[in-house]
């Protein structure tokens, strides 16, 4: 029996791994994820540049302090940012001067114009006019320097020493430490969470994608009429099993390739070699990677089996759509529940939800990235999933056996129930 199932596994595996689609998706996903992770870090790292800002000070006394604060901030910044503030005299007709400078900004003489209204510090709102208002770094420096200058002015007017107040009211940052199983404390500034979120999404897409592959594979066998030749040789259940295992192996191969890419990137010196030095790549503990694979395998076996049943029951993807939608919705539920789990990873609801076999692959894995899941919960979730897989295989196996030779009329739910009783 084994060598025949293996022949089917081999065919499913080889025929898929050889396709261009497989290699494209294997290459593109890490490229995409890499871009999502690296580009923001890279952009943040190169917020530099040289800017010339015209300062039109109608109040007559804030241009100086604002310029000074801005210079302090620019100097404090380690990146290559140069800001030159050019004071413009308002002249007899401030409105005309504003229009004139606006023209110069448009012409490119200045990168932008900072307008400090007459009523400052009590009335009026400072304005920054520029063609590019998305230069975040510059904007943040301008905003902070205007704020500092005006607040300092107000403090002085109230008889307080700005330097003293600033010292007294300086921010306190909360240091977040993740407490591990053995009492170790690790620094986590949210990259860990982002990464686990990313992994849950990968889990979702992988289970969905490979599940639908199973369904399409079964539909294809029905459509091109090869199925009877095969089930005259192997049992329908063996065919179903071989197909699910073969396609699952393709998924694991893809993960393995991705893991190798990741390993290469995190190797010492590799990041620097491709110009990503200074970009901190978040890391996931190896034990989580192992459980990611475990939960993917369990989730794929469960959903792959359900999709196989849908493929066997119908002739075309259009006909299968309603049932496919139901299964896909079940797969989406954990995504909707993610926030609940994130807020209270050990809450009663979170524990119960993560023990539901359909949700376990994503929610239990998510909890593992957030907290230390008790061993009994982990073990029960795996046992429950295995039970669900066996149950699904038992039911779907019957539908498969009858459905795979049926074609013509589209079966209704009651037909499926009848098949269950007949098989």
């Amino acid at each position: 029996m084994l060598h025949r199932i293996l022949a089917i596994v081999r065919r499913e595996y080889m025929e898929r791994v050889r396709t261009r689609a497989f290699w494209l998706s294997t290459l593109l996903v890490p490229l995409f994820l890499g871009a999502v992770m690296v580009i923001p870090a890279w952009l943040a790292a190169r917020g530099g540049g040289t800017f010339t800002v015209a300062v039109l000070d109608l109040s007559g006394r804030f241009a100086g302090p604002v310029g000074k604060e801005a210079q302090k901030l620019v100097n404090a910044d380690t990146e290559k940012l140069h800001v030159t503030m050019v004071d413009i005299a308002p002249g007899p007709d401030p409105a005309a001067t504003r229009e004139k400078i606006k023209g110069q900004v448009q012409a490119g003489t200045y990168d932008g114009m900072l307008v400090l209204p007459e009523g400052l510090p009590d009335e009026g709102q400072p304005e920054y006019v520029a063609p590019n208002v998305a230069a975040f770094k510059l904007l943040s420096i301008l905003e902070r320097s205007v704020n500092k200058a005006i607040i300092a002015d107000r403090l002085t007017a109230a008889g307080l020493d700005p330097a003293k107040v600033s010292k007294l009211t300086r921010r306190v940052d909360l240091k977040t430490l993740k407490l591990g199983k053995k009492g170790e404390e690790t620094r986590d500034q949210g990259q860990g969470f982002l990464l686990s979120y990313g992994f849950v999404m990968i889990m979702y897409f992988s289970v969905l994608m490979y599940g639908v592959y199973v369904m399409r594979g079964v539909l294809e066998e029905k459509a091109n009429r090869i199925v009877e030749v095969i089930i005259a040789t192997v049992r329908p259940f063996e065919l179903m099993l071989g197909k699910i295992l073969g396609i699952g192996a393709v998924g694991l191969t893809q993960f393995l390739l991705w893991a190798l890419v990741l390993l290469a990137l995190t190797a010492p010196g590799a990041a620097a070699a491709i110009g990503l030095s200074g970009v901190e790549l978040p890391t996931l503990p190896p034990i989580l990677l192992v459980f990611f694979v475990v939960f993917f395998v369990l989730g794929f076996l469960l959903f792959g089996t359900l999709y196989a049943g849908i493929g066997a029951a119908f002739d075309t993807e259009q006909e299968a759509q309603n049932f496919q939608m139901v299964v896909t919705l079940i797969l989406v539920v954990p995504l909707v529940l993610m926030m609940q789990i994130i807020n209270q990873p050990n809450g009663a609801l979170s524990v119960v939800l993560s023990l539901v076999p359909f949700f376990t692959p994503m929610l239990m894995f998510l909890r593992m990235t957030l907290t230390t899941v008790p061993a009994w919960q982990l073990a029960s979730s795996i046992v429950l999933m295995l039970a669900a897989i066996v149950g699904a295989a038992w039911i779907v196996g019957k539908i498969y056996r009858v459905g795979i030779l049926m074609h013509g009329s589209k079966p209704k739910l009651k037909d499926l129930v009848r098949w269950l009783r007949e098989a």
């Binding site: 060598h3 025949r4 022949a7 089917i8 081999r10 065919r11 080889m14 025929e15 294809e220 066998e221 091109n224 009429r225 090869i226 009877e228 030749v229 095969i230 089930i231 005259a232 040789t233 192997v234 049992r235 030779l405």
Partner: protein
């Protein structure tokens, strides 16, 4: 020699519809056995039950005297009526898959598949995808897949459907060559001239029931043995009056005379010579179509 395949009281119902009813017959080893019947008679259901693609409600199937189970059925080469191939697979890979799934080691399967492809003139197509092949070529690939594991019993369900005359000729030659090698072939069809040409045994199924089973020459004898084809200087009414004659049928300018069981052909000829000149007196050999129609008619009149 013992029959290679025996069907004993097979029955299959689909709800109220009886697809196959109390079907029993033996397939002698080394024969080409025709499973005949109009569309919907139950031929494909019967074959699917032999192959355990569907399971019978009652009865059993014996192969070499032992019940067919999921392992033993692999000794049979089966070409279903609904046959196809994975369109995206390469021809040789596909054949190796069909071989290995039936238990042939991959290397061996590859060798045999290449040899058959050469023999069928498809050697150059081995590395092409199935979908690049013409329909006739695909049917040859299906056939190679069926015989790759060297089965001693072949079951072919409507193998000629969709074949052009040249390919049909090739298939017939292959079947005859395989019989020479001792392979038994069960052939289901509703195209009767092919059966006349190939089969030595038949089972005729009508409305789920077998109505005629046996050696084709014996069946011919039964249906034509007492019928004589005559031509000469006499008319129908004169012939009907002859005491030796049970019934008279016209056949163009000739007549078919059914002889009474107690009369000898010699007596009939003597009586005819009394009537006038006899230009033809020959035993009538009915073709299968004749037998088929008469058997179905008789079956229905029995039923009625």
């Amino acid at each position: 020699m013992d029959p290679i395949l025996q069907l004993e009281g097979l029955r299959k119902n689909y709800g109220d519809h009886v697809a196959v009813d109390r079907l029993s017959f033996d397939v002698p080893t080394g024969s080409i056995f025709g499973l005949l019947g109009p569309n919907g008679a139950g031929k494909t259901t019967t074959i699917r039950m032999i192959m355990r693609v569907i399971l019978p409600d009652a009865g059993r199937v014996l192969l070499n005297g032992e019940p067919v189970d999921d392992d033993r059925r692999r000794l049979i080469g089966y070409l279903p009526e609904e046959r196809g191939l994975y369109r995206k697979m390469k021809v040789l890979d596909h054949l190796v898959f069909l071989g290995t799934v039936r238990g042939v080691p991959p290397g061996e399967a590859k060798q045999r598949a290449s040899a058959w492809l050469e023999k069928f003139g498809l050697g150059d197509w081995a590395t092409h995808k199935v979908e690049d092949l013409s329909k006739g070529m695909q049917q040859k690939v299906q056939l190679i897949g069926t015989i790759l594991h060297r089965p001693r019993l072949l079951i072919l369900d409507e193998p000629f459907s969709g074949l052009d005359p040249i390919n049909a000729r090739e298939l017939k030659d292959l079947m005859l060559a395989m019989r020479e090698e001792g392979v038994t072939i069960v052939l289901s069809t509703h195209v009767l001239p092919q059966v006349d040409e190939l089969c030595d045994h038949i089972c005729l199924i009508n409305q789920a029931r077998p109505i005629l089973v046996g050696r084709l020459d014996e069946i011919r004898e039964r249906f034509g043995g007492r019928t004589w084809e005559v031509e000469g200087g006499f008319g129908r009414e004169e012939l009907e009056r002859l005491p030796q004659v049970e019934a008279v049928h016209s056949l163009r300018s000739r007549y078919l005379l059914d002889l009474r069981p107690d009369a000898a052909p010699r007596e009939l000829l003597a009586a005819l010579l009394e009537l006038g000149e006899v230009t033809m007196f020959a035993r009538f050999v009915p073709d299968l179509e004749n037998i088929f129609i008469r058997a179905v008619e008789e079956d229905q009149s029995h039923a009625a």
